[in-house]
Amino acid sequence: MAEITLVEAVTMALAHEMEQDPTVVVFGEDVGVNGGVFRATAGLQKQFGDERVIDTPLAEVMIAGMCVGMAAQGMKPVAEAQFEGFMYPMVDHLVNHAARLRHRTRGRLTCPMVVRAPWGGGIHAPEHHSDSNEATWAHFPGMRTVIPSSPSRAYGLLLAAIRDPDPVVFLEPKRIYRWQKETVEDSGEELPLDVCFVLRDGTDITLVTWGAMVKETMEAAQALAEQGISAEVIDVATVAPIDMDTIIESVEKTGRCVIVHEAPKHCGVGAEIAASLADNAIWHLKAPIKRVTGYDTVMPLYRNEMNYMPSCKRIVHAAEQVLRFE
């Protein structure tokens, strides 16, 4: 059992499930010989052949549309979008078809497909390679949006996503693809897609986040601990549908909440969490709910990128604001 990175955990989950289930195919640009531009599918074509790991023409509408077709006929396609910024042409097939197929045919046809994509900023990539577009997917009924934040969660959640009988958008925080290694057993054990993960217990404030921002948020929790403040950190992981119960329970305990995400603030997923708290936990709130997010701007080119990304400092600052209320 080796220590592996998040991106290696993705590969391991793909290999595991392809081994178990002959209907799983990997489908996308450069996923074959090249093993994906981030090497997430490295070695898979060698192992499973080019009828299981399929390089496609450069056409995202086609990738999404054909996955709907394949999934409806009993396969489990796992598409790769090369970057989240190139998923937008997929919206139509995901929203108008994948997410509705079960509903509109009363279960006659289903769409157990996954679209994986490297997602988010912070690696100094070129233009259009650093978006955080989870809110785009999270609003649409009929599919799940899942974002892992560690090697073991990447492994377990991706297994669950592939096995899920409904469509899943699986966003991989590319900034932490190789950040931390973790011992992950290739056990085939999936993690649930309907719960948040409490990464750190605390009593004074709840920090809610997902994806690569888990890194800064855990750092912020540590910094707060050094000030004697006990922060609970929740990794939402599945941002649609959200397990609000875990979040509400935590906020009922702490009375304070800061939500952290990379995406622009306006109508981001953080809004849903805050709104849900404002409905269901309002009497427990001791302070305003703050969101520390990307700005309502285009993700800038790389020289300004780190000015855009929420930092540990910004999270601590927001926490301190919130903690000022008694």
Partner: protein, 365 residues
């Protein structure tokens, strides 16, 4: 130095002319002599037309929602449906009823769908066929995906899809051609060119001579046929389906026909379409010429026609009753809106369902 490195052509096929006469000098397909089969297909075309008229009438009297008529397209649609095997997969747009009836979709399914009831899409036809598809041309890629699945399964199955003259402008169709070429998919892409995309005439979709030639982009065999000529349309389908089944890849067939109806019951074609054009299209419509041919050959007569119309009326009536029974006596419940969102209903949807049941809509709907 210039050298020609590739050349292409688009051929046009017609066997039965608008007057019901076999076109002279042709290599006539065997189907033209298979009177039993032709009679049976003619009967289905007629049933479809009778059904269509009834569906429009139901809409006009408030008993059905917006409905897309198939008037004038019957030969093309019957050709498509009858060329396929049950295990093949059909990805329709929204008006290919005759093709679907051939495959086992019930008339009451069609009525349920346009009658605002999801059960219409859970139709009785081959359970693996795709549902009706409103977002134009997207079905082409679903068919390509199905074809890919069959290819990977190594099953001798074919996916067939239909797109309109309008839909042929859309990237989905064009990407499907490319995909079919890339993987030599067992796929048949049929353009049912009825000359209009709602109010936009064929000439505005592009200025190319044919729509069939879009298949050349992928190097696919691409032909045009008289889509009101069941014999030509079916012959083309048979050829394309056989090629696909035998691993020789995909084809494009442009079937020339005419939308004799409004686009849907929500449309009024008189706003944009000269009546003269419609009138002359009626002279070329598919049932007329087939009836003439069958009569000329001694396989049809007025009595049979009358009997058939009566029989169709009866069958359509029964379908209407099934439909009305379903929506009145066994309507979709409020629960049904929440079911089928996910295989396992998430907690928050369960909650919403319970809430919704406290607020049933009032009055008519």
């Amino acid at each position: 130095m210039a050298s020609t490195i590739a050349s292409f052509k688009v051929d046009y096929y017609q066997y039965l002319d608008p007057d019901g006469r076999l076109v002279e000098g042709s290599q006539i397909p065997a189907l033209a002599r298979d009177m039993k089969e032709l009679v049976s297909l003619y009967r289905l075309m007629t049933l479809t037309r009778v059904f269509d008229k009834k569906a429009v009438a139901l809409q006009r009297t408030g008993k059905l929602g917006t409905y897309a008529s198939s008037l004038g397209h019957e030969a093309a649609h019957v050709a498509i449906g009858s060329a396929m095997r049950e295990e093949d997969c059909f990805a329709p747009m929204y008006r290919e009823y005759a093709a679907q009836f051939y495959r086992g979709v019930k008339m009451s399914d069609v009525l349920l769908y346009w009658g605002g009831d999801e059960r219409g899409n859970d139709f009785s036809g081959p359970k693996h066929d795709f549902p009706w598809c409103v977002p134009i041309a997207t079905q082409c890629l679903h068919a390509a995906g199905a074809a890919m699945a069959y290819k990977l399964y190594k099953q001798p199955r074919v996916a067939v899809t239909v797109v309109g003259d309008g839909g042929s402008s859309k990237g989905d169709f064009l990407e499907a051609i490319n995909a079919a070429s890339a993987w030599k998919l067992p796929l048949v892409l049929v353009i049912v060119n009825n000359q209009w995309a709602i109010s936009v005439p064929r000439s505005k979709q592009n200025t190319a001579k044919t729509l069939a030639q879009k298949g050349i982009a992928g190097g696919l065999p691409s032909i045009q046929v008289d889509g009101n000529d069941l014999i030509a349309a079916r012959w083309a389908m048979d050829k394309a389906v056989a090629a696909a089944r035998e691993g020789r890849g995909a084809s494009v067939i442009e079937m020339m026909t005419y939308r004799l109806s409004d686009h849907t019951t929500a449309d009024d074609a008189r706003r944009y379409r000269p009546q003269g054009e419609v009138d002359s299209a009626w002279n070329k419509e598919p049932l007329l010429r087939m009836r003439k041919y069958l009569m000329d050959q001694g396989f049809w007569d007025e009595v049979k026609e009358e009997e058939l119309l009566d029989e169709c009326a009866e069958r359509v009536q029964a379908a209407v009753e099934d439909y009305q029974h379903a929506v009145s006596n066994d309507p979709q419940s409020i629960d049904s809106m929440f079911e089928y969102m996910f295989k396992n209903m998430p907690h928050h949807i369960e909650e919403q369902r319970e809430y919704a049941k406290q607020f049933p809509a009032e009055g008519d709907h």
